[in-house]
């Protein structure tokens, strides 16, 4: 039996859940999630600084899914979602957690992991320089991404990117990204 992608996600996302979604990540869904979360953040009386950070990081997380998810495996339960992803947003002490999950072809794992490790090794100043370098030198890819999403998330949150890869089958893995957006000063 293949690895159950949702069980592990539920463990990660265990807590005070303000939003949960699994399924196709298209433009309409992104709009709906952003609207819902913006309303909840406003209703939760969060400081505008934190609200903006959460919103920004959420935009990048969702658009990372939109631009980069790989196709679901043939035996996966949901065959109708062209861009399958899981998303949870949790209220935690002093901030929010944004957790995403998506399929990735196993031969793309090393490249992504190397990119994350590079970001996690960098100081805040180095991340700013990396951001500016990619901004100025890398063209928008055929997938439509700018290659800046993860760098921007790390820069805005000031936190390391927590992540896990789980092998689904020989060809496919599942990528979990666990982002803490806290109040910073």
């Amino acid at each position: 039996m293949s690895f159950n992608v949702e069980h592990y996600f539920s463990e990660l996302a265990n807590g005070n859940n303000i939003l949960f979604y699994k399924g196709n990540i298209d433009s309409d869904l992104i709009n709906r999630v952003l609207d819902t979360v913006e309303e909840k953040l406003a209703a939760g009386n969060e400081q505008s600084k934190l609200r903006k950070k959460v919103y920004n990081v959420l935009v990048e997380s969702l658009q990372n899914l939109y631009h980069h998810v790989d196709k679901v495996p043939d035996d996966f339960e949901d065959q109708t979602s062209e861009k399958y992803g899981i998303l949870a947003i949790n209220k935690v002490d002093g901030g929010y957690k944004i957790i995403t999950g998506n399929f990735i072809r196993s031969d793309n794992v090393d490249k992504l992991e190397e990119k994350i490790k590079r970001i996690n090794r960098a100081s805040h100043e180095e991340i700013t320089e990396l951001y500016k370098f990619i901004l100025n030198h890398q063209r928008i890819s055929s997938k439509g991404g700018g290659g800046l999403g993860l760098v921007d998330i790390a820069r805005k949150t000031g936190n390391k990117l927590e992540y896990t890869f789980k092998e689904y089958d020989k060809k496919c893995s599942f990528f979990y990204l666990n982002i803490l957006v806290g109040e910073t000063n």
Partner: protein
Amino acid sequence: MEPIIIEGTPKTPTIKFDAKEGVFEIKGRSIPENSVEFYKPLVDWLEIYKESPLNKTVVNIRLEYFNTSSSKCILDVFKKLEAIHKAKNDVEVNWYYEEDDEDMLEAGEDYESIIRVPFKMIEIVE
């Protein structure tokens, strides 16, 4: 040259590019999935404006949110302005940010360090 006027949406900014006044404005949110599609007409328009610009061009950027995909397109806009400035025309960028929004200020400073055009950082106090 006809101005470009585009109404803002929840995901795309309000645009007012007026060649007669030499005042260009980008305002609101810029978070579309496909930002190239939105910005290409603006960059093309600037390419034409660049041929016979006014002596002074003022650019007002007043964004609440923008995504990383827009950040590249905004850089393309600035590169056109840089070329106008380089051809000995006056170009000034006013970069607005809300008082508690350090991320937006830093974003302006990123562009300021890449693009050779005078930037003014303007804090919006409510």
